[in-house]
Symmetry: C2
Subunit: 401 residues, 2 copies
């Protein structure tokens, strides 16, 4: 079986389910793992005859395999084809990461490098393709079934292009999807980075099995994503959750987008690094001053380390960040009334001091009805969320018939 | 037919659809009006035999009637029963309004009075029942099929009780639904006032036929509601849209809820009245000063009137309100990415000067992808929205089988 699929790999790997029922069977195997053939008829609510016909078609298409058992036909095991491969791509403001998964979206290998997104789409997408080639050379995959990519800005997902992304000069309406389809030779889906992180955490992380979830990414940039009824909510034009450039308060902090007092200018990792640098220079924090002298700059990670060393100014900065994040979050929680909040992105490295302040602020500012049973937790997958999420993004597309 | 129903009124009027199919037929007649029997089978995608059986059951239950035609059985007209009556109840911060509708939610009559919600649940709900009795005495209805009520605070709709409402002392967890079920003798559904207004505008007003809609009520209080995919989104615990007591900016305006800088303290009709009173006292606005002298107080309505008289300070106040509302709205639009925004509540009496400022602020602050095709409009139903919406609320419940 495996040999036959590899011989016909070019034809077979672009196969897709032909009916909603086939798509549902593939999603079921993706999300629940291998199933006994006898049990599958029951789980999928199908007659055994009908199920058999659908399984045969999916096996011929190279999408799944049925492993016979000595115990008889109905105790055979049905599984996604072992050669199914998805690529997840996470483009951050200052980094590019790619990861290969199997059909069940388990990460088989990953590669990444630092790269400023402002280098523009040609440079960044070439880096994506080069990283994928490294993984392929390692033997992580022969061919991709599909790739899902998250970008740190607004994306018109239907068209596969970013739209007026504030921090990505040169990317506005660049045909990211078409570029990668040509370069990777597979189906590609493009979305906002936070939506992709959310898909990852919902598939295999902190939000597994929860219907209404608010995800907030606190990194160089800041953004949100929402799951409603177990599905991503993207809004009328796909920009739901794009809160990074709202005026958060009357602060006069300038933002790279050109406005003042934006969320990203006030609560992001970049904003924290700027405030921490000032604290290092003014002598308010001896620990941060030493780090500035040693490395020539201070990052959010330095603040986390200094707080761990009980540097009072660093602890104060983390708490202040938490209060500002909490203020933003209180707005989103009051409005959306989620059942769970998941924080992700680099700033979550500030850990439980940050989390405690965020929680206090949300519980203080939002209505009791909205916060009574509301857990606020950190990402479980960390930097893998965007990779698993990218794989989930494209598999949702392919397995939707 | 009609006489038979009235004889059996007690039994018949508590009838409800028994199956999802029956419920669907009732909603179809409610939303699209009378249907030719022949066409209904097609619209509902049913065999004529099946349809006939369901229609017979619903007719016996007193929920619809089939008016025979001389042209034959299939050209008979199917309509909701003409005796179906719903009550919509809109409890505001300073007013109570009730309205009776027919099965298609057309308002047949309404009554209202000024009443401070802080008088407490017993006084306010007694007023609701008294107003309903006046309508009944006018012959607007014999008996109610159901009543839907909107309250100006957070409501646990499943339990029919308000939960920690900031502006409604004495109402916390008061059994509003059970109180009204006993007093009115019909099914009662309770919800937040903005959700109910939104149902009204979605059923018969500015949002008819639009799937993803953001509603913002600007009255004595401020709140929001969201429709996603054509249905109200209430959140994990029913408090979605409850944004009135968020910290909007660093303003130190005190709010009756005890906090400072709340949305309601900064952008509500009450906040505008307070600022306008100060302008009248300081001599900044001669027109408002005259109104203060004449009536002993200045309301948002006075500001609207003074702006119409081209009083510069009043125009400035309206514009300033618009900018503040726009700032709140930009946050909600960026986050929810709706396809339409509907503004309702008393402050919309400030008209197009307010609307122009709101629009300018939202278009300036929210991402282009979210505002490219985004209409921001005023309520079409005005004060009837809460009454039609209340009727819609309970009919959705009754016609859900």
């Amino acid at each position: 079986m495996r040999r036959r699929v590899q011989e016909g790999v070019q034809r077979v790997h672009i196969a897709r389910p032909e009916t909603p029922l086939q798509a549902r069977l593939l999603r079921l195997l993706r999300d629940r793992g291998p199933q006994a053939r006898g049990g599958l008829a029951e789980v999928a609510d199908l007659s055994r005859t009908r199920l058999g016909a659908e399984l045969d078609r999916l096996a011929v298409a190279g999408l799944l395999e049925v492993r016979r058992s000595d115990a008889g036909r109905h105790s055979a095991t049905v599984d996604l084809h072992p050669d199914l491969r998805f690529l997840g791509v996470d483009v951050g403001a200052t980094s590019v990461d790619v990861g290969v998964t199997d059909g069940r979206l388990r990460l088989l290998g990953r590669r990444g490098r630092e790269l400023d997104v402002r280098e523009g789409p040609a440079v960044v997408l070439d880096a994506v393709v080069a990283l994928w080639r490294e993984l392929r050379a390692e033997g992580r995959a022969v061919e991709l079934h599909g790739a899902g990519i998250g970008l740190p800005g607004p994306v018109a997902s239907d068209e596969g292009v970013p739209v007026a992304p504030p921090l990505m000069p040169g990317w506005d309406r660049y045909p990211v999807r078409d570029h990668l389809v040509r370069a990777l030779g597979c189906t590609v889906v493009v979305d906002n980075d936070v939506n992709v992180l959310a898909l990852g955490e919902h598939h295999a992380g902190a939000a597994r099995g929860v219907d209404d979830v608010l995800f907030v990414k606190l990194g160089t940039g800041v953004g949100a994503a929402v799951f409603l009824g177990g599905r991503p909510y993207r809004g009328a034009t796909g920009s739901a959750g794009d809160v990074g450039h709202l005026g958060l308060d009357d602060s006069a902090e300038p933002c790279p987008c050109g406005a003042r007092g934006c969320v990203e200018a006030v609560v992001s990792g970049a904003a924290l690094a700027r405030t921490a640098t000032a604290a290092a220079r003014s002598g308010a924090s001896p620990v941060l001053a030493r780090r500035l002298a040693a490395a020539g700059r201070v990052t959010a990670r330095d603040v986390a380390a200094a707080a761990t060393e009980a540097d009072p100014e660093a602890v104060r900065l983390v708490r202040e960040s938490g209060r500002r994040v909490g203020r933003l979050l209180a707005t989103l929680v009051s409005f959306a009334n989620p059942g769970l909040v998941v924080l992700c992105g680099g700033m979550t490295g500030l850990g439980h001091t940050l989390l405690a302040e965020v929680r206090a602020e949300v519980y203080r500012r939002s209505p009791p009805l909205a916060t009574g049973d509301l857990p606020i937790v950190l990402s479980e997958l960390g930097t893998a969320a965007g990779l698993v999420g990218g794989a989930r993004l494209v598999s949702d597309h392919l397995f939707a018939a």
